[in-house]
C-alpha cells in the first residue's frame, strides 16, 4: 500500500528520471515536493486532512515515507552495452591511462602512444616517432577555442596542432618536471600537474608560471590531477590533499586530512578523507568538488564534506584512480570496477566484468543498502579502471586491458529491470544473487 509503481520513463530523451508518485489518497489534494537533497519525496498536506485523527495520519504518513524510501527509490539509468577497443582491434597497448572526448572524436592515452578513435574504430595511433613527447600518455586536454590537443606524458607535454607536435620539457621550457600526470586548458592557460608541482603555460605570451612547496601551501609537491572550476582551479596532490587556487585573486587554499594520520579515518565526514589524493573532478551542475583517494571518495559542497567508503556505500572499492561528475552523478574509477553514485537518491551502480566470460555485471546498491545484480551480454574490458569521460549519455572508460565505450539503451534498460521484477514475482532471481546490504 502506498508504494509507487516505479518504472523509468520510456521517453527517448535521457533527462533526469521522474519518480511516478501516486496521488495521495486524501482527496487528491496532496502537493508533492521533491527535495533534491533528501533523496525521497516529502508531502505537504492541505488543511482538510486535519479532520482525521492526528495519530492515524502520522502513522499513515510514516508508512508512506518508509515505503517510498526503501522500495521506491528512483531507478538509475544503466549502461546496457559495452564496445571494447583492445590490441585485437587496433589499440597499440592494452593499458589505457586516460580518455578525453572531443565531440565525435575520442582520444585515448596508452602506455604506447596516443590513440584517435573515430566512427567506431581506431583511426590513428601517434607514437614518439610521430613527434609525441613520450610513449606513456597520462592526460589529454582539448583547447576548445582552437581544437588543439595538449598531452601530458612521462617525457614532458606535447601540443598537437594541425597534425604536428610541439614538445615542452623540463630542459627546453619552464615545465617543472617531465613526469606529467594531468593537464587542463582554460582560456589561454595550459595547466600541468607534474611530479614536482604545478606549471602553467600562457599560450599567448609563452610565459611559464610554477607552484610547488617553495611558493604555495603544498605539503608535498607531487601533483596528480587538475579540475578547472570557473575562476578556480583544483589540484589533486599526492600527500598534499586537495589544493584550491583562485586564479583572479592569486591565492591558495589547501584542504587536507584533518586527522593528520595516514592509518585512520577518524570520523566519517571529517573533511577530506585522506591526504593522498589521486585525482579531482568538478561538477558544474551541483558545484561540488570530488576527490578520489586510495582510501575512499570525498565530496565537498562548499559547506560540508561527504565521504564514502566501500564499507558504508555501494562503492566498488576504496582504491580510486579518478572521479568524474556531472548532473547528479558521481563516477569513481576503482580497481574493482566503475561505480556511479546518484547523489540525489544515494543509489549506487557498479559495472564490472561478470564471472562468465564476456558477460557484464551491474550491481545496484539501493539507499537502504539492498543490493541487486543484473547481467549484461557485454562487459567492460577490465575491472581495473583508470579514467573515464562522457559523450552525451554514453561513457568512455580507460581500463587496464583496453578502452571501453559504454552505451545507454533505454529499451534494454527497461528489459533489464523488467527481467529482475519478473523473476522476483515468480520467486526466482535470474542474476542468482540478491543479497542484503551492509
Amino acid at each position: 500500500m502506498g508504494t509507487a509503481p516505479l518504472t523509468p520513463t520510456t521517453s527517448k530523451t535521457w533527462g533526469p528520471l521522474r519518480l511516478a508518485v501516486p496521488p495521495l489518497p486524501l482527496g487528491g489534494e496532496g502537493r508533492r515536493i521533491l527535495n533534491p537533497h533528501a533523496g525521497s519525496p516529502t508531502y505537504h498536506l492541505p488543511s482538510t486532512v486535519y479532520r482525521f485523527p492526528h495519530f492515524c495520519l502520522l502513522v499513515f504518513a510514516f508508512c508512506i515515507l518508509t515505503c517510498s524510501i526503501s522500495l521506491a527509490a528512483p531507478r538509475p539509468h544503466l549502461i546496457t552495452r559495452w564496445e571494447n577497443y583492445t590490441i585485437a582491434n587496433g589499440m597499440p597497448d592494452a593499458k589505457v591511462f586516460c580518455v578525453t572526448v572531443d565531440g565525435p572524436r575520442v582520444w585515448a592515452g596508452t602506455e604506447n602512444g596516443l590513440v584517435l578513435i573515430q566512427n567506431g574504430k581506431v583511426a590513428k595511433v601517434y607514437l614518439p616517432a610521430d613527434g609525441l613527447a613520450h610513449r606513456a600518455v597520462m592526460g589529454i586536454a582539448v583547447d576548445r577555442s582552437t581544437d588543439d590537443l595538449w598531452i601530458a606524458t612521462f617525457g614532458g607535454i606535447s601540443h598537437f596542432s594541425g597534425g604536428h607536435f610541439e614538445n615542452f620539457t623540463n630542459l627546453t621550457s619552464g615545465l617543472l618536471n617531465d613526469i606529467c600526470y594531468g593537464i587542463a586548458v582554460v582560456d589561454r592557460s595550459v595547466w600541468v600537474a607534474t611530479t614536482a608541482g604545478v606549471s602553467r603555460y600562457n599560450t599567448l605570451s609563452g610565459e611559464w608560471s610554477s607552484w610547488s612547496e617553495k611558493n604555495a601551501p603544498f605539503h608535498e609537491p607531487w601533483a596528480y590531477g587538475i579540475a578547472p572550476a570557473g575562476n578556480k582551479m583544483y589540484f589533486a596532490i599526492w600527500g598534499g590533499g586537495l589544493l584550491e587556487y583562485d586564479v583572479q585573486g592569486n591565492y591558495w587554499k589547501p584542504y587536507t586530512d584533518p586527522d593528520e594520520e595516514m592509518e585512520i579515518v577518524l570520523f566519517k565526514n571529517q573533511g577530506l578523507i585522506h591526504i593522498i589524493v589521486s585525482n579531482v573532478a568538478w561538477n558544474p551542475d551541483t558545484r561540488m568538488i570530488w576527490a578520489s583517494t586510495y582510501f575512499g571518495l570525498s565530496g565537498y559542497d562548499g559547506r560540508n564534506w561527504h565521504n564514502y567508503l566501500s564499507k558504508d556505500s555501494g562503492l566498488a572499492s576504496d582504491f580510486i584512480n579518478a572521479p568524474k561528475s556531472r548532473r547528479n552523478e558521481v563516477w569513481a574509477c576503482t580497481d574493482k570496477g566503475l561505480s556511479m553514485l546518484d547523489y540525489t537518491t544515494n543509489t549506487w551502480v557498479t559495472y564490472r566484468p561478470g564471472k562468465q566470460k564476456g558477460q557484464g555485471e551491474i550491481e545496484i546498491t539501493w539507499p537502504d543498502g539492498r543490493k541487486q545484480k543484473l547481467t549484461t551480454d557485454t562487459a567492460l574490458a577490465h575491472n581495473y579502471i583508470l579514467n573515464m569521460d562522457f559523450q552525451g549519455e554514453d561513457i568512455w572508460v580507460a581500463t587496464a586491458l583496453g578502452l571501453s565505450h559504454g552505451i545507454r539503451d533505454s529499451e534494454k534498460e527497461i528489459q533489464l529491470y523488467a527481467s529482475f521484477t519478473n523473476s522476483q514475482r515468480i520467486g526466482n532471481n535470474p542474476t542468482g544473487r540478491f543479497q542484503k546490504g551492509n
Binding site: 592494452a94 613526469i179 595516514m262 577518524l266 582504491f319 580497481d335 577490465h382 581495473y384
Partner: protein, 456 residues
C-alpha cells in the same frame, strides 16, 4: 568576591587532573631496562606495532576506519599478469634497475654500500646460474640530490632497459615519486634504504620495504627515553631536511601523547659546523635529554661542542648516527650516546658472518646496514623472479606473498606487515669505550612476527 575565587579554585582543581592525562610512570618500571611486552595484545591487531601511548586520539574516540591492518591492504586487481612474459631465450640478460645516491650526493655514503650489497647478491645469484642460464645485470641509476631530477629514472628502466624490477632508494622523496610512476607503469620496487614511514602507507601494491623505518625507530626511542629512563624534559635537535622532518615526527607524536612533548625543536642546516647558537638555546631550556635526528658527521660535531660547553645531558639519535663517522668526529664526546640501529654487526649468526666475509673480500670494507638490507632485498627479489618468471605482475604477486611473514636475512629477522613494511624490533646501540654496543630493544607491543610463516 569569594564566589569568583571559589570558581577559579574549582577550575584549577578540574584542570590539573585533565592536564595530567598523560603517561604515568609505574613504580615497578625498572630504570634503564628494556620494556616487557604486553602478551595480551595480539601482534598484528594494531598497525605498525603501535604502543598504547602512540595510538592517535585513543583518549577521545575510536576511529571510523583503520587502514593497513587487513589482508586486502595491498590487494591487486589490475592486469599486469596478463602482459606477455619475457622469454629468457630471447634475452641476453635479466635486467634489474638500481637507483641510489651514487655520486654528487652527500647521501652516497649510504648509496654506495647499498649498491655493493645489491651487486654481491647478484654476483652470487649469477654464480648459481642466474635465471634459466641468463645472468642478472644491474642497471645503475643515480639518485640525484636534486630529487626532481631522478623522477624519470624508473621510466627509463622500463622503456629503455627492460628492467623487471627496481631496487634501491635512500631518500624518501625519490622513493615516493618512483612509487607513483610504478603505480602507472607497474614495475615492482624493492625499497631497501628509506626510513620515511609514509612510503609504505599509500596502498600502492608495487613496493616492498625492508629497512626499519622512522616510525619503528621513533617508537623504540620514545620507549627508551620516556619509559626506561623516565626523562621528562626533552628537546629535539634536527637537520632542516625532509629526512629529519618526517623522521622525528613519530617520536614527537608518541612523546606528545605520553605528555612528554619536546619542550624545544631546534634546527640546523646540513653541513653546518658551528652549533653554538642551537646548543645555547637547549642549555637555557634546561632540558634533561636531547634527541638528535640528522647525519653522523654533524652529530659528532654537536656532541663535541656540547661537552665543551659543559652540557652533560644524555643524547639520543636515529639510525643514521650509528655509523663510524660519528665516532671519528666526536671522539670521547660520543660516550654514552644511545641511538637506534638498523643492524647489529656484532651478531654471530652464520648468515651474517658469511655475508660480512664475502663483502669484505669483494669490496675491502666493512658492510653497513644499507649494504645488508640491499643484499637481503635483492635476494628477496631474485627468489620472487625465480618463483614467478619474467612477468612484473607475477613477480610482485610473489613479493606480496611475504605479507605477514618472516624472512631470515643477513640483516637479521625481517617481519613484513600488511603493507610489506619491516616491523622487526629495532636495535639500540650505546657508545661505550669508543665503540657501539648493541642490544635488541623490544617495544611494548613489539614482536618478531609469525614464526609459522617463515620464507626464504
Amino acid at each position: 568576591m569569594r564566589r569568583p575565587l571559589l570558581f577559579a579554585l574549582l577550575l584549577v582543581a578540574v584542570a590539573i587532573p585533565m592536564t595530567a592525562q598523560q603517561y604515568k610512570d609505574t613504580e615497578d618500571t625498572p630504570k634503564d631496562t628494556v620494556i616487557k611486552r604486553d602478551e595480551t595484545v595480539k601482534p598484528d591487531s594494531r598497525y605498525a606495532n603501535m604502543p598504547d601511548e602512540a595510538v592517535p586520539y585513543r583518549r577521545f574516540t575510536k576511529p571510523y576506519y583503520d587502514w593497513f591492518v587487513r589482508e586486502d591492504t595491498l590487494e591487486y586487481h589490475g592486469a599486469a599478469d596478463k602482459r606477455p612474459d619475457g622469454n629468457p631465450a630471447q634475452l641476453n640478460e635479466i635486467a634489474i634497475g638500481f637507483m641510489s645516491p651514487i655520486e654528487n650526493n652527500p647521501e652516497s655514503i649510504f648509496g654506495i654500500p647499498e649498491l655493493h650489497g645489491a651487486q654481491l647478491a647478484l654476483e652470487q645469484a649469477n654464480a648459481r646460474g642466474g635465471y634459466k642460464g641468463k645472468p642478472y645485470a644491474l642497471k645503475i641509476h643515480n639518485e640525484s640530490a636534486l630529487w626532481g631530477a631522478s623522477s624519470a629514472e624508473l621510466v627509463k628502466m622500463l622503456f629503455n632497459e627492460n628492467c623487471w624490477a627496481m631496487l634501491g632508494c635512500v631518500d624518501g622523496q625519490n622513493c615516493h615519486i618512483s612509487l607513483r610512476v610504478s603505480l602507472k607503469l607497474e614495475v615492482p620496487i624493492i625499497d631497501v634504504g628509506t626510513t620515511d614511514p609514509t612510503v609504505t602507507e599509500t596502498r600502492i601494491p608495487w613496493l616492498l620495504h625492508d629497512f626499519p623505518d622512522d616510525r619503528q625507530q621513533g617508537y623504540t626511542l620514545a620507549d627508551y627515553v620516556f619509559k626506561a629512563l623516565r626523562l621528562k624534559r626533552i628537546a629535539v635537535l634536527r637537520t632542516q631536511t625532509r629526512y629529519a622532518r618526517i623522521g622525528v615526527a613519530k617520536f614527537n607524536d608518541e612523546a606528545r601523547r605520553m605528555g612528554r612533548q619536546p619542550v624545544l625543536e631546534v634546527k640546523f642546516e646540513r653541513g653546518d659546523k658551528d652549533f653554538t647558537h642551537q646548543l645555547q638555546m637547549l642549555r637555557d631550556a634546561k632540558v634533561e635529554g636531547i634527541v638528535l635526528w640528522g647525519e653522523a658527521t654533524e652529530a659528532g660535531l654537536i656532541l663535541k661542542q656540547m661537552r665543551q660547553m659543559g652540557m652533560k645531558q644524555p643524547v639520543f639519535g636515529s639510525s643514521r648516527l650509528a655509523h663510524s663517522p660519528l665516532l671519528e668526529v666526536a671522539g670521547p664526546a660520543a660516550e654514552g650516546l644511545v641511538v637506534t640501529a638498523a643492524l647489529d654487526p656484532t651478531r654471530k649468526d652464520p648468515k651474517w658472518q658469511a655475508f660480512r666475509d664475502a663483502y669484505r673480500q669483494k669490496f675491502n670494507e666493512e658492510p653497513i646496514d644499507y649494504a645488508a638490507y640491499a643484499y637481503d632485498g635483492m635476494n628477496l627479489l631474485i627468489a620472487s623472479i625465480n618463483k614467478a618468471g619474467l612477468n612484473r605482475g607475477r613477480i610482485m604477486d610473489a613479493l606480496r606473498d611475504y605479507q605477514m611473514k618472516t624472512y631470515q636475512g643477513v640483516a637479521g629477522t625481517i617481519y613484513f606487515d600488511h603493507t610489506l613494511n619491516n616491523l622487526a624490533p629495532v636495535n639500540l646501540a650505546r657508545v661505550k669505550d669508543g665503540k657501539f654496543e648493541y642490544w635488541l630493544a623490544p617495544r611494548q607491543h613489539g614482536h618478531e612476527g609469525d614464526k609459522t610463516g617463515v620464507r626464504d
